[in-house]
Point group: C2
Chain length 208, copies 2
């Protein structure tokens, strides 16, 4: 669909803005914009206002760098959580994914990305300095490295590992293996190989 088919510059501009969003093409953008156009103006006001307010008022937690409405997020300020275990994750969506499992009662540390020379992201662009500060105070017993199992994730894991190696902190990483419900024949060789190498006692695996 060509640009100059738009009979309205205002419409075209709004479609262009929507199409800048990740995963939204111009056809989807048009569908979304025409939907908004049909809504009463109060509804559209709610939509734009929620984005504007969020952008201007949202904080990052001063401890774990998670997104928060307060200076300290609800996880860090929760007194029933174990403050001596930190799970290091890439972004807030990872926090939400782990929280959804209800299996982790420690705190988080949100890096804000992973080391990726290809994208020009180095250690100083992430919150690694702040992680080291949290650890060096002696307030932490264990760090769980919860980054993706990619080359960038591994690089970042290794970088953090070296920075923390001198401290008396247990450093663990998420178990890699065959996903629950997955057929062995469709599992890639590296995952399957690693899941054989790191096999667990049958009793242990039934615990949860």
């Amino acid at each position: 669909m060509n640009h100059n088919q738009y009979t309205s510059k205002l419409l075209e501009k709004a479609v262009g803005e929507f199409a800048k969003l990740p995963g939204i093409g111009r056809k989807t953008a048009l569908r979304l914009v025409l939907h908004l156009l049909k809504q009463p103006s109060e509804e559209v006001e709610l939509f734009t206002e929620s984005i504007r307010v969020m952008q201007s008022e949202i904080h990052h937690c001063s401890i774990c760098h998670n997104i928060s409405d307060q200076k300290v997020c609800s996880i860090c300020s929760n007194s029933s959580r174990n403050k001596r275990i930190l799970c290091v994750v890439e972004n807030i969506r990872d926090v939400m994914a782990i929280e959804a499992t209800r299996q982790f009662n420690g705190l988080y540390h949100v890096l804000g990305g992973i080391i990726s020379p290809m994208d020009g992201i180095g250690p100083s662009d992430l919150t690694i300095r702040s992680l080291i500060d949290r650890c060096s105070s002696g307030a932490v017993d264990e760090i769980i490295l919860g980054l993706s199992a990619t080359m960038e994730g591994d690089t970042t894991n290794f970088y953090i590992y070296r920075k923390l190696a001198d401290m008396e902190i247990k450093i663990t990483t998420l178990a890699r293996g065959v996903a629950i419900g997955d057929d062995l024949e469709y599992t890639d060789e590296i995952t399957l190989g690693r899941s054989i190498m790191n096999r667990t006692l049958f009793n242990t695996s039934l615990k949860n």
Copy 2:
């Protein structure tokens, strides 16, 4: 993913607003909102402003009801187009789809929907009255019914046909048949049957 995993009410609200858009679930909404959150505030301002301005300033063309920045849209005001042929379509996306073919040089009439008793949409909710007015002035030679080949589309076609039957206007409809590039064996029986019934002279079909 559960609602109460959000560590920020502002974030949750923005995600909720995005998730109201058609075809956008909460996971996609979160991805879009986090993307906006990472943009500089001027970018987000451009985004919200384009929607706000569009909503408050866009017009519907007073002749064909297409979306337009002026009182009369760029198609209706284009003096090189044939004003004696109208193509009746459901919405502005259909206008754009037909314009993209570059095969139609007439004007449009945008109904704003189709007759659908199930959704509570009757003839008076559409711009049919205005279509009749355009036709009764004697300024129109041909009406092309360009609605979808669904029961609602056929109902609407028939309703319009009856309203215009007394006027000296040629009423045509889009050709239905096997789509270009489609295998016959995968074409549904009704389409295939209709394309045999309405077969065209071989010479004619090569014209375009």
